[in-house]
């Protein structure tokens, strides 16, 4: 492509620079706030750079109540729920994805139905699930959150992995079957290792979806289980709002997201469009 005139390139740089400022400022502001004392938060003009970058807010926010904000419980519970739902979805979803990619059992209809469950409005499934979980005494347990999140992760995993399997040339598996391997063997020993990067990407996406999930955590838990997405709004709704400490919980809550945004970039478009756009 030809080099564009200098003026046009400067304009372009200005636009992208402004975009970066706009899209990163709220995140940076939360990071700065997480180091501010209450006096620094409640001051006008607002303090941009806090006087000290001591980790006081983080230590107080992470400790359990009554003297702390319980952030560490959020980290623990978010990890347990996200990792469990991820594991179930990938274990159950990978064979199904392979089968859909290679054999189309049930034709287009079955695989379409699977994906359409992903698009369920959560608020529509929340009430019946709530009543079921109450009946089974599963409210405020990990089980309820793991099950509810799997509704959305399993179809996602199947659909995305199906795309990865379809990208694989079929000849290797054919050769394996001719050599006497079973279909499941061709999946486990030939296809699965070849899409290993795809499995990792899919698993990480599923982890993030649960990590970010809010409505189910709000409705199905109370005190025994409290994910990070629950802790932040509940502290904002508290009678004494300690902005610095809440921001500290917020910063901890977005660490995996920021890391994965940087790591997964090549696969983001595929994951976020349910495989519709491959990038």
């Amino acid at each position: 492509m030809r080099r564009r005139p200098l003026a046009r390139r400067l304009l372009s740089a200005a636009v992208l620079g402004a975009a970066l400022v706009v899209f990163l400022f709220p995140v940076v502001w939360m990071l700065l706030t997480s180091f501010k004392t209450n006096a620094e938060f409640f001051s006008y003009p607002p303090v941009l750079i806090p006087k000290s970058f001591a980790l006081t807010n983080y230590l107080n926010a992470m400790r359990m109540p009554p003297d702390g904000r319980g952030g560490i419980q959020g980290v623990r519970d978010s990890l347990i729920v996200s990792l469990s739902s991820m594991a179930v979805s990938v274990l159950v979803g990978a064979p199904a994805a392979y089968s859909f990619a290679r054999f189309r059992p049930g034709g287009e209809h079955l695989s379409f139905w699977v994906l359409s469950t992903r698009m369920f409005p959560p608020v529509a499934s929340a009430l019946p699930l709530f009543l079921v979980f109450r009946f089974l005494h599963l409210l405020d347990t990990y089980w309820a959150l793991i099950a509810a999140n799997t509704i959305f992760n399993l179809p996602f995993v199947i659909w995305l992995l199906k795309g990865f399997f379809e990208d694989l040339p079929v000849e290797l598996e054919e050769a394996a079957v001719i050599d006497g391997t079973t279909v499941f063997g061709a999946f486990r020993r030939v296809a699965l290792p070849l899409v290993a990067p795809g499995v990792v990407v899919t698993a990480l996406f599923s982890f993030i979806f649960t990590w970010n999930e809010f409505m189910f955590a709000l409705l199905f838990t109370r005190s025994d289980v409290r994910t990070l997405t629950i802790i932040v709004p509940s502290l904002v709704g508290g009678h004494e709002i300690l902005w610095g400490q809440i921001a500290a919980v917020g910063v901890v809550a977005i660490i995996p997201n920021v890391v994965l945004a940087l790591l997964l970039q090549r696969f983001l478009v595929r994951g976020l469009t349910l495989g519709a756009v491959k990038g």
């Binding site: 564009r4 970066l20 709220p26 939360m30 859909f100 290679r102 059992p105 009430l127 054919e174 756009v277």
Partner: protein, 313 residues
């Protein structure tokens, strides 16, 4: 992608046992997944359907009573549902519209970069990845009318000529403040999608357009955008489905207020179900949302096949 029919793996014609295994293994492999999905989606669906025809108010203690289609009649006569519908409609039309226009413009700029492109895109994508509830918290601080950076910036830039607003408490502004947060979070998503589409356009096409005398904005409008349309449609459909379910940001920023000016359908359904405990009525509303989403999802599914077969494949 051409439609492929039948088993992809060649059948070694050895024994009928092998053939039978080949026929049944694929079914066995999808069975656990289908069973799990049936258990956690179809059951709630049928249960919801059954609840739509009863009146069941947990607050009164009366047992559920059959009311026929009364709940649906009530939905369409409920001004608060109409209000939530209008708000959600605005968020979809104006909000997703803004994300599409801004996102496409950014993608066209970003496409001009060479080495810096990956880095800039990664940074822009951070909002997309973080939890909506956390995004809501960030904007709660930014919108703070006394100590927030937004009102300070307005004050500074206009030397006090423009008075900052109570962004989340002013009923004329609150919905737009909620929308701005959603636009902030998802514009980079559209950028990502459009950029992927741009990179799939063969360079020769653009050169041919240039030879034909189309350059700059003209080439973009007449050559690039039509080619991008399928990808943009997929991105828009994903966003429409998500925005239709918008809940987290509303909960964190305004809790539907002031009054009910920022209530979305998802938020109002949550209120009816989990604050007012009107189970039959909630189910009727949930069912209507399910129907709307199903229609959009069907369009998405048909479209996605075309896009995968087309330029973005």
């Amino acid at each position: 992608m051409a439609t492929r029919v039948g088993p992809e793996v060649a059948v070694p014609a050895r024994s009928s046992a092998a053939v039978r295994r080949l026929r049944w293994t694929p079914v066995l492999m999808v069975l656990p997944a289908v069973a799990v999905l049936l258990a956690i989606t179809v059951f709630p669906l049928l249960y919801t359907l059954r609840l739509t025809v009863v009146s069941w108010e947990l607050t009164t203690g009366f047992p559920p009573a059959f009311v026929g289609l009364q709940n649906f009649v009530r939905v369409f006569g409920d001004p608060r549902f109409g209000n939530a519908m209008k708000n959600t409609g605005l968020l979809v039309l104006v909000g997703v519209g803004a994300q599409t226009v801004l996102g496409t413009a950014l993608a066209l700029e970003l496409n001009q970069l060479r080495r810096a492109r990956t880095t800039v895109l990664s940074l822009l994508l951070i909002p997309v990845m973080i939890a909506p509830v956390i995004a809501g918290f960030q904007f709660r601080m930014i919108y703070n009318d006394q100590f927030g950076p937004l009102n300070y910036l307005l004050d500074l830039l206009t030397h006090g000529a423009v008075r900052g607003a109570a962004w989340l408490a002013d009923p004329r502004i609150a919905l737009w403040a909620v929308m701005a947060t959603d636009v902030w979070q998802w514009t980079p998503f559209m950028t990502l999608v459009v950029l992927a589409g741009l990179q799939a356009i063969p360079g020769e096409l653009l050169e041919a357009a240039e030879v034909d005398g189309a350059a700059g904005p003209q080439a973009v409008w007449h050559v690039v955008l039509p080619l991008l349309l399928p990808v943009i449609v997929v991105g828009v459909l994903v966003r429409v489905m998500d925005t239709f379910k918008l809940f987290d940001i509303v909960y964190q920023l305004t809790a539907g207020g002031p009054g009910s000016v920022t209530e979305t359908i998802a938020f109002y359904t949550y209120l009816q179900g989990f604050k007012f405990f009107s189970l039959g009525y909630t189910s009727a509303m949930a069912f209507i949302q399910l129907a709307v989403i199903t229609v959009v999802a069907q369009v998405f599914l048909r479209y996605q096949r075309r896009v995968r077969a087309g330029i973005a494949a």
